[in-house]
């Protein structure tokens, strides 16, 4: 199996093996082995729930830094739309951008422009996929679908995310001006570990390559020094419809599709994807799905709490009277659509059907021996997961305290 990079990772020395993360991982990607947590990379979706719950700071987000900024001739930063919600409602987006320039970037790309382009294409794109169309903004949701809901891949919209569109437009612009692609440094200010992972996946596509994902929480205090407070309604070019992409429900509003739902929080996302699979939601046009509660303003690498951040965004939106009029993008539209088939990363037991069947049988036999208490002492999150681990050879049956103490289940 190929080695997958994940931003969410573990510092073994800090882990005391308490099993909190084990029981709280929504996709059962964590085990405790020899008193230390282990993350199964092929299952991990980078949601960051383990980072939130670990009392010892053992789960962390591996991230990029701005150290090698000077390597590039042109340094362009793409702020997540959520950045504008982090400094209170009196700090205007233009002043946030100005602070970024002071940190050494040559240009702050206006991501709300990319949001408006994405919204415009999305309106039509949702008719080109299996209903209900599912949004692709959140990399955690995409990974969840690719690993556990492969039948929903055909529901995913094909338009690139505003972040990828921004990278594309930046690279195109500076290459036209004669710069070599490798001299253009594109950085994303990320609200979440999920995007740190995602940009690594994008890195073999030169057109939309992003050189680093910097946590907003890392750059925050550096920015504070340069932040000005001036509460006026200056007319600056940032789009109010673009800013809507910050919080849950905003995307649906931006594309103006009424027959839609917005789902936030990873556990809710899982519930709704289950419903989509049964066909129960076939009448809905669009589903906005975001792993964090309240959407991207709930990102783990932000400073402001999600609910206040939403309020701040709305107050800023109220001060703005500007939206990009996007009509003439037909010449680039094709480049902003991802026509490659998404990889089905389902976790099959075996590439051979017969041996997969044998493993299931084996698993079912093991489950019948287990107490069904999901105590977690074996290091697997549930008896069922433990049975699977044993069948796969990742755990041995004596790891179960019930079994090793000679426990037998009553035959009923």
């Amino acid at each position: 199996m190929k080695q997958l990079f994940h931003s969410v990772s573990l510092i073994s020395e800090k882990c005391i093996g308490c099993t909190k993360c084990l029981m709280n991982c929504p996709v059962e990607a964590i085990r405790v082995k020899n008193g230390k947590a282990v993350i199964y990379n092929e299952k991990c979706i980078d949601c960051g729930e383990c980072i939130k719950i670990c009392p010892y700071g053992a789960h962390v987000a591996v991230k990029d830094s701005l150290d090698d900024l000077s390597k590039y001739k042109k340094k362009v930063v793409i702020p997540s739309v959520t950045l504008y919600s982090q400094f209170g409602s009196k700090v205007l987006p233009c002043d946030v951008n100005e602070a970024l320039l002071k940190l050494g970037f040559d240009e702050v790309f206006d991501i709300t422009f990319a949001c408006d382009i994405a919204a415009e294409i999305l309106k039509k794109d949702i008719e080109n996929v299996v209903k209900p169309a599912i949004s692709t903004l959140c990399p955690t949701v995409i990974r969840l679908i690719e690993t556990a809901y492969p039948s929903l891949i055909s529901h995913l919209v094909k338009i690139l995310t505003p972040i990828e569109i921004s990278a594309f437009l930046i690279r195109e612009k500076y290459q036209k001006q004669g710069l070599k692609n490798e001299d253009i440094g594109v950085f994303f200010l990320t609200p979440c570990p999920s995007w740190v992972t995602k940009i690594k996946e994008l890195s073999n596509n030169e057109n939309i390559k992003i050189n680093g994902a910097i946590p907003i929480s890392d750059i925050y205090s550096k920015m504070l020094k340069y932040i000005k407070h001036r509460d006026t309604n200056v007319n600056y070019y940032i789009s109010k419809t673009g800013l809507l992409w910050s919080y849950s429900g905003g995307q649906c509003k931006a594309i103006d599709v009424e027959n839609s739902i917005s789902v936030d929080g990873i556990k809710n996302v899982i519930k709704v994807l289950n419903d989509v699979e049964t066909g129960r939601l076939d009448d809905i046009d669009y589903i906005e799905v975001l792993a964090c509660s309240n959407g991207c303003v709930g990102g783990l690498l932000l400073v402001e709490n999600p609910y206040n951040a939403e309020r701040i965004t709305k107050m800023i939106i109220n001060k703005i009277d500007f939206t990009y009029k996007v009509f003439d993008f037909n010449n680039i539209k094709n480049k902003l659509i991802n026509n490659k088939d998404r990889e089905d990363k389902t976790l099959k037991l075996s590439s051979d059907f017969k041996s997969a069947v044998e493993m299931i049988k084996n698993m079912n036999n093991i489950i019948n021996m287990l107490p069904g208490t999901d105590c977690g002492l074996c290091g697997s999150p549930s008896c069922k997961a433990f049975a699977e681990d044993v069948a796969k050879g990742l755990a041995c049956i004596e790891d179960c305290k019930f079994i090793s103490n000679g426990g037998k289940k009553d035959e009923s």
Binding site: A148, P150, S151, I153, S154, N274, D275, E277, T278, G279, R280, D344, T346, L347, K348, L349, S350, S351, F353, K354, A356, V357, M359, I360, K361, N364
Partner: protein, 143 residues
């Protein structure tokens, strides 16, 4: 040898349990993903199994879903212990439903379940006896 049943799983389905209703199809789906069944086929199985499961929850006194896996296909038996369907032809019509007010409020009762099962399956058999049972047999081939 091709006809040999490789694996069989059975899930109890409880009448009126809307909270757990859907678990059988959800568990079955996970199993099929683990076996590496093609995702479009899994989707059809999932839809058929879910509708059959919810019919047991909503319309019957309770029963079970049994899934038998063969080399080339899955066979799903959805069996319940009544009240049975008096007029199967009528029940199979799109839009026909006797669902209760509560079920309707939960978004069920469109009368689309049985027609959807039929549409999703390669072979579909339904038998019923009033006061005794309803039995669905759904066959879907893997490719």
């Amino acid at each position: 040898m091709l006809m040999e049943e490789l694996l069989s799983v059975k899930y109890d389905v409880i009448s009126g349990d809307f909270i757990r209703g859907g678990e059988a199809s959800s568990n079955l789906k996970k199993l099929l993903n683990q076996l590496g069944i093609r995702s479009d086929v899994v989707k059809r199985i999932c839809v058929a199994c879910y509708e059959a499961e919810m019919n047991i929850v909503i319309h019957s006194v309770g029963g079970y879903i049994q899934a038998k896996i063969y080399n080339d296909r899955i066979e799903i038996i959805a069996y319940d212990n009544g009240p049975g369907i008096p007029d199967i032809e009528l029940a199979m019509q799109e839009g026909y439903s006797t669902a209760s007010e509560i079920a309707r409020e939960m978004g069920f009762g469109g009368g689309m379940g049985l027609p959807n099962i039929k549409r999703s399956s390669d072979e579909f058999y339904i038998t019923s006896e009033v006061g005794k049972y309803t039995k669905l047999k759904i066959i879907i081939y893997f490719d």
